[in-house]
């Protein structure tokens, strides 16, 4: 094995891959060969670094220079300048949003985006080559499995997870150790462990990143879980829309088998365990545990009532222990460093760290991992870099379609399972979508309900018909046809669906409406009573007008596709509301800020 003096890490996560990182890798290898550097510099494709906003991301070690938004044509310069002559290519170095500083000599950890983070689940993402088991081994990989199998009883393993306070990261927040214990207690000739990698929340992509960046961490954790509960087989249910994750997972499973870390008689302890991948077709409801297991069995992905819980009767009617990807990503670390170490982080009832996917109106779109109890403000402003274009913060949506929108007054809430629920939202899988003054909260609620109506499996009436009725009312409101009594009808439907739907999908479907009604009721009322959208977002409720700032330059009239703008040169123009399509082209074109939405 050769030692290289420099490693070039190129992000191969889905975000950076779609912005062309595969071409970068090819180009690097070509250019390095041209300059006879291929024996000195190694190019490695890693998983996601988290700062997707700045992709494609390239890091050059040992100096740790962080290049962002690298294009294929920049590669030549990085090779001839940095790798050959040791001069950083300054204009490609990442600029910190918060400090306006370039990262030149600074370590990656000093960038504001990473400074507040504490990476446990994401520890190897962007650090190792996910398709090389040796690199995972070098980062203490499979040591936890070795420790569990050779020096701990099954009860001790479960106890450690229990004491760590780890709770399910798939949304429910159920104590993981307890789930392991229940499944351990079930008597059966065959048990299964399963991994939920369906990740259906719009805006969440941490599970994908973990699978892409550190697949062995999941394999190791599932083997540990298998040992603890007494299962010899495991299934990973991953959506087919995640081709990179599926490929890396497949490679990783094969490598683990080759090394004897999966298979028969692991470490000569007599423990047998193997893993299989099942692809999901991307239905949101298949993330629900009973639907997921039906889908693995080859049946229609529909939920069934619980009990029986999977711990008693799950996959193929055998006791099954299902955990989320991120939940598993913590397991090996807990076994290795102990429950006390893990429980020293976080809040009283939510231990450890949580990964959040930042999106929406925020400067640093990407993945962040912070200790539980970090405030929304720190996540959004310090790590996320705040709201772009000087706009005002309005709300943050957490918990995906089952969650809610929290207003500015709650920004200092320390984020954990219980605080978010108390605040009227929930943790969900950790999506965080930031909204600014231009977002209409009624329309946001409508968006989520629209998603739910699409994704409802149709098995139970409250979800199938109830959410549809709610969506109709919301559509009416945003189209300016809202009536007195609509809000009350929404509230009544919400309560009924919540208490009567079959599965979690329906039971939580009204949450976006409930939370926006709680914090932004005035916006609903403005739509219904005044026929106004305060955010000037809903097209049916707004008008474009030209103010006296107009200089009569005629630019707007020329760009209007509907010939709705008239007026003499050098005189104030006028928009005919009957002809106006509300496309906004005129407003974009106007150099004098004379066109406004009212």
């Amino acid at each position: 094995m050769d030692i290289y003096r420099s490693h070039v890490l190129v992000c191969g996560g889905t975000g950076c891959s779609s912005s062309g990182s595969a071409t970068l890798i090819e180009r690097f290898n070509e250019k390095l060969a041209e300059n006879n550097l291929e024996k000195e510099v190694k190019v490695i494709r890693t998983g996601c670094f988290g700062l997707c906003e700045a992709g494609p991301v390239v890091i050059v070690y040992p100096d740790g220079t962080f290049y962002s938004r690298v294009k294929p044509e920049n590669v030549d310069e990085i090779v001839t300048e940095h790798l050959l002559k040791g001069r950083k290519v300054e204009h490609l170095v990442y600029t910190d949003h918060a400090t306006r500083e370039q990262n030149a000599e600074k370590a990656l950890e000093d960038i504001t985006f990473y400074k507040h983070q504490h990476r446990i689940a994401l520890r190897n993402c962007g650090v190792i080559d996910p398709e090389n088991i040796d690199e995972y081994l070098a980062m203490d990989g499979y040591r936890a499995l070795e420790k569990a199998l050779t020096s701990m009883t099954r009860e001790q393993v479960i106890d450690e997870i229990l004491k760590s306070g780890l709770r399910g990261r798939g949304g429910g927040g159920f104590p993981t150790g307890l789930k392991w214990k229940f499944t351990y207690n079930s008597q059966s000739d065959q048990k299964y462990v399963a991994c939920n990698a369906d990740e259906g929340d719009p805006g969440a992509f941490m599970d994908r990143s973990i699978l892409e960046g550190d697949p062995h961490a999941i394999i190791e954790a599932m083997a540990i879980a298998g040992y603890a509960i007494g299962a010899s087989e495991g299934y990973i249910y991953v959506r087919a829309e995640y081709p990179i994750a599926v490929k890396r997972l497949t490679v990783a499973i094969n490598q683990a088998r080759e090394y004897g870390l999966l298979g028969k008689d692991i470490f000569g302890t007599g423990f047998n365990f193997d893993l299989f991948i099942r692809l999901g077709a991307g239905a949101f409801v298949c993330g629900e545990e009973t639907a997921l297991m039906h889908s693995i069995e080859g049946k229609r992905g529909e939920p069934t009532t619980r009990p029986p819980f999977p711990a008693v009767k799950g996959l193929f009617a055998k006791p099954t222990m299902l955990n989320n990807v991120e939940t598993y990503a913590n397991v090996a670390q807990i076994i290795l460093h102990g429950a006390d170490w893990y429980a020293s982080m976080g809040t009283e009832k939510s231990k450890g760290t949580k990964v959040f996917a930042l999106g929406g109106k925020i400067n640093n779109t990407g993945l962040v991992e912070v200790p539980m109890g970090t405030t929304l403000r720190t996540i959004i402003y310090d790590i996320g870099g705040g709201i772009p274009n000087g706009k005002k913060f309005k709300a943050v949506q957490t918990g995906g379609p089952s969650g809610g929108c929290l207003p500015e007054s709650l920004l200092d809430t320390p984020v954990d399972y219980d605080n978010l629920i108390a605040a009227g939202s929930m943790m969900g899988s950790g999506g965080m979508i930031v909204m600014d003054e231009d977002n209409c909260m009624v329309d946001i609620a409508r968006f989520y309900l629209d998603f739910i109506c699409d994704e409802s499996c149709g098995k139970c009436t409250p979800c199938r018909i109830g959410t549809k009725r709610m969506l109709e009312i919301l559509n009416r409101i945003v189209n300016g046809k809202g009536k007195e009594g609509d809000i009350e009808k929404l509230e009544e439907l919400a309560q009924t669906i919540k208490s009567t739907a079959l599965c979690g999908l329906g039971q939580t479907a009204p949450n976006p409406v409930i939370s926006t009604l709680r914090f932004f009721r005035d916006e609903y009322e403005a739509h219904i009573r005044d026929k106004k959208c305060p955010a000037h977002h809903c097209q049916a409720l707004l008008q474009y007008v030209i103010t006296d700032k107009c200089r009569g330059c005629t630019a707007c009239a020329r760009v209007c596709p509907a010939q709705a703008i008239s007026g003499e040169v050098k005189k104030q123009h006028h928009i005919d509301p009957d002809k106006c399509l509300k496309c906004g082209a005129c407003m974009e074109k106007c150099r004098f800020g004379a066109i406004v939405k009212i």
Partner: protein, 125 residues
């Protein structure tokens, strides 16, 4: 199928290989070689390769080799800085590949700079 001992060996050798990606700045000895046009023309590349070779042969884990640009004393190239953790930088000048094993053995491994190769010695001569 790998035994526990084999896995441990893989861990060790891979760690050596990927060590440079860890940013424990304080712990690492850095060898920085002047590799601008002047340095390369004066023969910096064989010097760098000699360093890498020597480091690999001795399995030195906490040493990184990197390059830097021209610092303006082109007549002294190839120049090499060696920075031990917590110590001041020592600059070697007119470095040739055959000098490398001594620098590694005496300075990097045993902590005693090879005075006669340093910039101080060259300036006083």
């Amino acid at each position: 199928m790998k035994s526990l001992a084999e896995l441990e060996a893989i861990r060790k050798s891979t760690l050596e290989r990927i060590n440079l990606r860890k940013e424990e700045k304080g712990e690492v000895t850095r060898v920085v070689i002047g590799m601008a046009t002047c340095g390369i023309a004066a023969g910096a590349r064989p010097v760098m390769l000699a360093f890498m070779d020597e480091i690999q042969k001795r399995h030195l884990e906490h040493v990184t080799v990197s390059q830097t640009g021209c610092i303006g004393m082109c007549r002294l190239e190839p120049m090499v800085d060696v920075i031990l953790p917590g110590k001041d930088k020592v600059t070697y000048v007119h470095v040739k590949p055959e000098m490398v094993s001594r620098i590694v053995a005496e300075h990097i491994v045993n902590g005693r700079p090879v005075d006669e190769y340093t910039i101080g010695a060259a300036e006083n001569a």
